[in-house]
């Protein structure tokens, strides 16, 4: 197992210091070369585990020709970019747009609305919190496939079919429980004194939350944001029901991918699917890369004594 002392990256990037000052506060730790190698090897194995299938996706997406695509040999050609061309030949950029809007809106609304609720549950006086939490949790637990028919009916009457709203509203509702739980644990971990200080300083409960608690919960907020974004980006069932067609309107990426067809009936469009998958995975990796920067330790260091 590894050590969990907080370790900001900035320090690591100062290369000269890096060797001695491995971690914040510069705790002394001996590192034999053996350990370094061991860790590197472990890292290698983990990356292989995580990335090999993705590598498979990329290789497959570059293959052309029916048999290459179905070959167990990753390096069996011929290779080309035709699959990608085909993907974008199908208005895929519009699907990307829809997914971005829907996942983005879900993330923003979820964080905004969920933060408040989580804060109220973690810190404000409310009665029957456990019951409330259970209720919140319950929302996301009903098998969604059973909710689809009545929701479809409801959405049709509300005119929400084939709209962005029709997607991000339910996404928000179904992701809120997760958001609330994650953020709640975060808020609870922030020393209560801080918020009390803010209240004494004349901040309203909202200001205390907004200016003091939320910034300190950044790691949680950004982790939650990554999760929400990915979940709503990849959601299929509701998207496929409420906006199954028409990239121009609201069809999202996973639905579009599921609608890919081979050249002839029965044929599985592996090439285009993998290409599309690579295309849609990359924005999420970028988002994860950006957001993870905010997942850092020690935000509350130095704030309270005792």
């Amino acid at each position: 197992m590894s050590d969990t002392a907080p370790a900001p990256v900035e320090e690591v990037t100062r290369r000269g210091q890096a060797r001695k000052n491995r971690r914040q506060g510069g705790v002394v730790e001996q590192r034999s070369t053996l350990q370094v190698w061991g860790k590197s090897a472990l890292l290698g194995v983990i990356l292989l585990w995580c990335l090999f299938p993705f590598f498979w996706l990329i290789m497959t997406s570059l293959k052309i020709g029916d048999r290459a695509l179905n070959s167990p040999d990753l390096f069996q050609g011929p290779f080309g970019l035709q699959n990608y061309e085909a993907v974008f030949g199908q208005n895929f950029h519009l699907n990307l747009r829809n997914s971005f809007v829907v996942a983005g809106a879900t993330t923003i609304i979820c964080i905004l609305v969920g933060s408040l609720t989580a804060y109220a549950i973690a810190r404000l006086p409310l009665k029957r919190k456990i019951l409330l939490l259970s209720g919140v949790l319950a929302v996301s637990l009903f098998p969604p496939v059973a909710l689809v028919p009545p929701l479809y009916e409801l959405w049709r009457n509300l005119g929400l079919l084939n709209t962005w709203e029709g997607l991000y509203i339910p996404y928000t509702a179904f992701t809120l429980p997760l958001t609330i739980f994650i953020l709640m644990t975060f808020y609870a971990s922030i020393p209560k004194d801080l918020e009390e200080a803010a209240r004494v300083d004349g901040a309203t409960p909202f200001q205390a939350f907004w200016r003091v608690i939320l910034p300190l919960a950044a790691p949680g907020v950004f982790a939650a944001a990554i999760i929400i974004f990915v979940l709503s980006w990849n959601e299929f069932l509701l998207a496929n029901t409420f906006a199954p067609r028409n990239p121009e309107i609201a069809q999202t990426v996973p639905v579009a991918i599921a609608a890919f067809t081979g050249a002839v009936p029965f044929q599985r469009p592996i090439g285009t699917i993998t290409a599309a998958c690579v295309i849609v995975t990359i924005p999420m990796i970028i988002i994860a890369l950006i957001f993870q920067k905010r997942i850092v330790a020690g935000l509350t260091a130095g704030s309270v004594k005792g």
């Binding site: 020393p191 004194d193 801080l194 009390e196 200080a197 803010a198 209240r199 004494v200 300083d201 004349g202 901040a203 309203t204 409960p205 200001q207 200016r211 003091v212 910034p215 300190l216 020690g298 935000l299 509350t300 260091a301 130095g302 704030s303 309270v304 004594k305 005792g306």
Partner: protein, 399 residues
């Protein structure tokens, strides 16, 4: 500006701990009251109740002429220095100090001005842009101070605000706080463990014990006329020496006998302050003697004002003065009350042992030039007018 009034205030924590019990205390408008008491006696809790950070289990809390039991902290308009500092870790020192002003929508340049001024006072100017985590403990405490003093609130609540500062800075800060409080006339409740702060800064000092208020009075009055054994033992450092004494009437002159050896005269001045002593003749009382009222006796000291040939067991050089510990055969006081005040079973056990053996150590403060050596046998004088007397059971002063 506003008065603060505790009106029969109780605090019970969910686990049943009663941290504050039926507290009745009025801090007048503009007054500076110091709250002292042993660790864990409920000082912080009381302060936090004023601030609105703890619910009030029972009783009424009044600020100005409003009952504030249900007001949120922000609405009470008080500034507080937290015992734990509670700095905003994501804000620079400057932002920490300016936060309350920002909340109050004070213009930016005024905020800056006030923060700079406070930083000047606190010696934090060069750290204004640092985050709290890159500060030393004392610097953090000063930031916590700064957050309060930039404001101009109805009341200041300060919870051991200088405990982590060095002596020099502390002297300076004491002066600054006093000056500030004077200038603004802000009602102030101040918790401290520092005897000097307690004695010099406040208009009045309130002594708490196990959540119960013992005495509120001006510092000197508290020092000179403690209401009970607890206050007597708590105020003053080193603490008052307390021992069991037998009251005798020798030819109309009241005397107390401590242990087997000494019999000290109680002069009229002392009797004036403790008239109750007369009715105790023949009985036992608790006798209190402050270390600084001992002196190295010489030929001119009357026999009935000294304890002859005391064995010096320890000498502590404090630079400007010397603490001389010497043995006596006086029995220590053991009341339930004391026991609680001591709050330490082992020390208590030792005291009991000493009591059985009939003897305890006294501490005296002497001039360095008078300092004996350990092992010396010296005659120790005591100023007869400075004795204190308490009921041995109730602990109350024999007034």
């Amino acid at each position: 500006m506003a008065k603060i009034e505790f009106d029969g205030v109780w605090k019970r924590f969910p686990d049943g701990t009663e941290a504050v019990k039926d507290l009745n205390l009025q801090v007048d408008d503009g007054e500076f009251v110091i709250l002292v008491g042993p660790s864990g006696c409920g000082k912080s809790t009381a302060l936090r109740m004023v601030a609105g950070l703890e619910t009030i289990s029972e009783g009424k809390m009044v600020i100005g002429d409003r009952v504030v039991n249900d007001l949120s902290p922000g609405e009470r308009d008080i500034a507080m220095v937290f015992q734990s500092y509670a700095l905003y870790p994501h804000m620079s020192v400057g932002d920490n100090m300016g936060f309350a002003l920002k909340m109050a929508k004070i213009p930016k340049n005024e905020i800056e001005e006030r923060v700079n001024k406070a930083a000047d006072i606190l010696g934090l100017t060069e750290y204004l842009h640092r985050k709290p985590k890159a500060l030393s403990g004392g610097q953090r405490q000063r930031v916590a101070m700064g957050r309060a003093i930039v404001r101009n609130p109805q009341a200041f609540l300060m919870d051991e605000p200088l405990s982590n500062l060095d002596a020099k800075l502390r002297v300076q800060m004491r002066a600054e706080i006093a000056a500030l409080q004077n200038r603004l006339g802000v009602t102030t409740l101040y918790v401290t463990h520092d005897q000097i702060e307690a004695m010099t800064m406040g208009d009045r000092v309130a002594v708490l014990k196990l959540g119960e208020l013992q005495q509120v009075d001006s510092p000197q009055a508290l020092y000179d006329n403690p209401d009970n054994l607890f206050v007597a033992g708590f105020i003053g450092s080193p603490a008052m020496n307390l021992a069991e004494g037998t009251v005798d009437d020798v030819d109309g002159e009241i005397r107390v006998k401590l242990g087997t050896l000494s019999s000290l005269k109680v002069n009229d001045k002392a009797l004036e302050r403790y008239p109750g002593l007369r009715s105790r003749v023949g009985g036992k009382v608790a006798v209190g003697m402050r270390p600084e009222h001992f002196f190295r006796a010489d030929g001119s000291t009357p026999q009935d004002q000294m304890m002859p040939e005391r064995n010096v067991t320890m000498v502590e050089l404090l630079g400007s003065e010397v603490l001389v510990h010497f043995g006596t055969s006086a029995s220590p006081i053991i009341t339930e009350d004391m026991r609680q005040a001591v709050d330490d079973p082992e020390a208590f056990a030792e005291m009991e042992r000493e009591a059985r053996e009939g003897g305890q150590q006294f501490v005296s403060k002497m001039e360095p030039q008078d300092a004996p050596k350990v092992g010396d046998r010296v005659d120790v004088g005591f100023r007869a007018d400075q004795m204190h007397f308490f009921d041995i059971e109730t602990g109350l002063a024999l007034r």
